[in-house]
Symmetry: C2
Subunit: 297 residues, 2 copies
């Protein structure tokens, strides 16, 4: 079961860090940026950057998260770079989280599920290990993703409490029944997948931002079976101290993403972008392990 | 202002119909389907189908809605067919709604906004007239879309009350302050864009399903400035009688999408898929106009 395998790898590496490949063109170092003259060369440069980052961190981190918006901005060639990045990361033994936050009614959701979770019918596709999903449409917008995930042994992270400053505007609203909107969302997720692996987590997890420690503690306590994808560490203001509430007494419960703090580490540290990324990952691993208090699984 | 221009076109054609290009491979007629052997030929066949549908309806309908999930299923080649479809429809004078339901935190939302609303930096892109958006992340996930829409004179439709059977599971929940979740969402949309065109509608509209007439009436009355994208007519069970609540006394207020009822009309009516699509559009126009009671704008 995929969540078990991801946790096995986190434990083997003693590292719950996920490297976010939100690769904007302007993040590239000057020499690589200078090779860009059209969509095709832009996509090539972005893939080269990602490949070098992946090579630098593949023995240290369990997963990468590829944020598709940055690739869509470059049109079909950008999506080709997305596909190549996903496939290269998988070849290097990394778990790949497609961060696409897809959502739609059932018939259409099943198409997205096929696009991101199934093996493609023809040639290069977007087949990843995990997909982020937005559940605003209700369970019939989630079930096609859950069914495809089960069929192909992949996983999902449904947006519950996001890391952005205004996430509370809708998500923290209090319902007449005493729950918050994000708890209603988490209830929907928890009721859509009651199959747990050896560590007690389901394949359908939750996105819970590092920037909201109180809500994270509530969600961790209330939903012991939900594994978290935790964005917001670093550039968005989340710290290891703030996100430790996402983990249980075993030190398990989530994987922590960092994008800009790793991709742009070279601008603060100097040296090559890949060496700087590796050094940033090592720092982050130490930081997270100290806050979580190590593993007791 | 784009919402004005869309309404001008609806009035000129006396037709609030939007043709949904949710083109699944299995919707293609046998002869076209037989040309498919890989992702490239699949994308070519889908574009050919779309082009013939567009040619058949371009003088009768104001807009097409292109549902990106069906193109993502085919990987980068599918996205190339999406791009070609969007651009061909615009060349034929149609307004194009990219139905992608994108959503993310601010920094990433601005990438999606650029991908779907701005002119592309290089070559072929996804630049459409309108984009569907999911507002679960709060206003800082909506504002980058609103800003890009204003900059490039494009429009948005934010999911408020969707057409699927289980949409109420989250959207209809009652808040402690007496609103429903979908009303809280609509309030967020209405407060994010207070600039109205000559017909009194903002460029940031709402998705309101044809299948929920009571909620549609509430939303229409409470938010007179929101223009609606109305899915759910036809195959999903929505009728003209059910969706007439989406329109105001002038007969204005929304555009009604139909995908399968038009793309697959040839299987019921016989003849070519494009002639059947044109006939289906004509029937739908009459059906909608009778229910709305004509235009008094």
């Amino acid at each position: 079961m995929i969540t078990d395998r991801l946790i096995d790898r986190i434990l083997a590496l003693e590292n719950p860090t996920c490297v976010g490949l939100d690769t904007a063109l302007e993040y590239l170092p000057e020499a690589l940026f200078a090779t860009v003259s059209d969509a095709r060369s832009a996509a090539e440069a972005i893939f080269t950057f990602n490949r070098n980052i992946i090579d630098a961190v593949a023995d240290m981190v369990p997963a990468v998260k590829v944020q598709i918006a940055y690739y869509e901005e470059l049109g079909p060639w950008g999506l080709s770079a997305f596909s190549r990045t996903v496939n290269y990361a998988k070849e290097q033994g990394l778990f790949v989280i497609a961060d696409a936050k897809r959502n739609d009614i059932g018939a259409t959701a099943s198409r997205y599920a096929k696009a991101f979770l199934a093996e493609p019918s023809f040639g290069e596709g977007f087949s990843s290990d995990f997909l982020t999903v937005n559940g605003y449409l209700g369970t019939d917008g989630l079930i096609p993703f859950a069914e495809e995930a089960k069929r192909s042994d992949r996983g999902l992270f449904v947006l519950v409490k996001t890391s952005n400053p205004s996430s509370g505007e809708l998500q923290d609203l209090l319902l007449a029944d005493g729950r918050t909107v994000y708890e209603a969302m988490a209830d929907m997720v928890a009721s859509s997948d009651a199959e747990y692996g050896k560590y007690g987590f389901s394949r359908m997890g939750a996105v819970v931002g590092a920037t909201h420690p109180d809500q994270a503690a509530r969600i961790r306590a209330r939903y012991p079976h939900l594994f978290f994808l935790i964005p917001g560490y670093g550039a968005q203001g989340g710290s290891a101290e703030m996100l430790k509430n996402c983990f249980d007494g075993r030190g398990l419960g989530g994987i922590v993403n960092n994008s800009r703090g790793i991709l742009l580490a070279y601008r603060k540290r100097g040296g090559t972008y890949y060496d700087a990324a590796r050094a940033a990952v090592l720092d982050m691993k130490r930081d997270l392990l100290a806050a979580i208090g190590g593993y007791h699984a």
